[in-house]
Symmetry: C2
Subunit: 139 residues, 2 copies
């Protein structure tokens, strides 16, 4: 059952255009933000995002790593929510892993730009939404 849901979830991820990530701010409010689709993933278990070191999300995840990630198709009628933790990575191996040519548009100083940060999300649970039904599973 789980492997079927994981395959379905991977398909939703592959077909999505972008991602949304959620955090909890210091006042306990959920926050969310659209992100570029992660370029590197390990199944549904890990996803790597890039962001600005100075961003609000980085501050929030350093304080509270509880996170979720959401990928959707067809305007949200088919979607997957993954719940887990988000790590803020500054090591050069992680940065080089996801750096792509042309990223200087976002980070003018290149892969060592101090404003370039990697976020690694690790899933614990998943929930798939499809045809007005939902299915939960562990990862």
């Amino acid at each position: 059952m789980n492997s079927e849901l994981i395959n379905k979830g991977l398909k939703i991820f592959e077909n999505c255009d972008n991602a949304l990530i959620a955090s909890v701010d210091s006042d306990g409010f959920p926050n969310l933000k659209a992100m570029l689709k992660p370029r590197v993933n390990n199944g549904l278990k890990e996803f790597y995002f890039t962001t600005n070191t100075s961003s609000m999300r980085v501050k929030q995840y350093l304080q509270n790593p509880k996170a979720s990630v959401y990928f959707m198709n067809e305007r949200g009628f088919t979607a997957i929510m993954l719940t887990g933790t988000m790590e803020v990575l500054q090591d050069s191996a992680s940065k080089e892993l996801i750096w792509r040519e042309g990223d200087t548009v976002y980070y003018s100083k290149g892969v060592t730009d101090p404003d370039y940060t990697v976020l690694r999300f690790t899933s614990v649970k998943g929930r798939i939404y499809e045809n007005f039904k939902s299915y939960s599973f562990n990862i």
Copy 2:
């Protein structure tokens, strides 16, 4: 300054196709979900959503009303996040306010369907994302 950002935020809302709502679950993890675009709103201050009474989101908001709502255009490059509280409404005036012909597709028993619930979001703060910049304001 605020009124300019509020007007910009309203334009993002008007042009969006759907909405995302976020909550905090009982373990303190942020959760999020795509929703139909709210049909009734009062500027950027209040938004009315419909949902299933039995949904996970209803349980979470009854326990913890802290919420955020996200509207986006152009795959998320332009977006607004609103932070505030979500109320779960079961009174018939609220239900009738947002009921539309054809909603029996979702709620077969009509406006009095016990599985039909109204969520009212009230904003406190806003944050607009545009061209890789962001602007915060109170509402």
